[in-house]
Point group: C2
Chain length 152, copies 2
């Protein structure tokens, strides 16, 4: 969380950054969009310190971006799922990804998002380049791109 | 800048956050999009510490998101302008703004972005709701929204 000055700005960008501008938070959300749900999976995929991960997840739950759901009783174990408010951050992730693809991916995009319906590539307005449909998060699927293959 | 683990991720979102995930950076860019160009204006509009502002601006220039242009010779004074790489961050700002409008603006959006050409409202895909044009940053203009008026 930034200082008071920052919070007091009457600005929706500042308000959004209050939450998602915290380090790691958008990468945690990226993981959730890719299907990660459990603490140990986040920890392994992100290589993030456990205490930092714990505090970020708690904050996201408090803010209503993620919800905790019990999947095991004894011992109690929870997984994290996106709420509607969380799903609505998909455009933020797509716009960051597209900018990173353009300026920080010398071997090409590591991930290509495709429209599940027709397989077309999803552009930076979240429109299918093949069929023109305006897409929602649940209509997209990630695929390894040239940048991922180059790294291997 | 986050730790190495974060940098080593082969992910365009992580790469983008390496730069714009720094505190204040996206708010500095918001200011530039609104026409702010000079150090003292950034400082006044953002209420940010001068040393932090200085280091964020320097980083943005190093990374090619902003360029410095001299507007006064003695003493030398510079202003900051967006490069193409900087302008290409417009979608990130729009997506953050729209999410903040939806979830953190109880009195309505503080700012409404309009298509200069026809005055239509710009949606979260950066499409004009009135004429349907797919818009670029230089085709948009900000207008005070209900949230701004409520605050006054």
């Amino acid at each position: 969380m930034l200082g008071n000055t920052y919070r007091d700005q009457n600005c929706s960008i500042a308000a959004a950054l209050e939450l998602v501008g915290e380090r790691w938070t958008l990468l945690i959300l990226r993981e959730v969009f890719l299907g990660t749900r459990r603490f140990d999976e986040f920890q392994r995929n992100l290589g993030i310190a456990r205490n930092v991960l714990q505090s970020r997840l708690e904050r996201l739950v408090e803010e209503g971006v993620l919800r905790r759901e019990r999947y095991h009783e004894r011992p109690e174990r929870f997984e994290y799922r996106l709420t509607r408010k969380g799903v609505d951050l998909w455009p933020v992730l797509v716009s960051l990804m597209k900018w990173g693809d353009k300026y920080s991916a010398p071997n090409g995009a590591p991930v290509i998002m495709r429209h599940i319906g027709c397989g077309g590539e999803i552009d930076d307005r979240r429109i299918c380049a093949a069929c023109g449909k305006h897409l929602e998060a649940n209509e997209s699927m990630p695929e390894l791109g040239p940048g991922a293959l180059a790294a291997v």
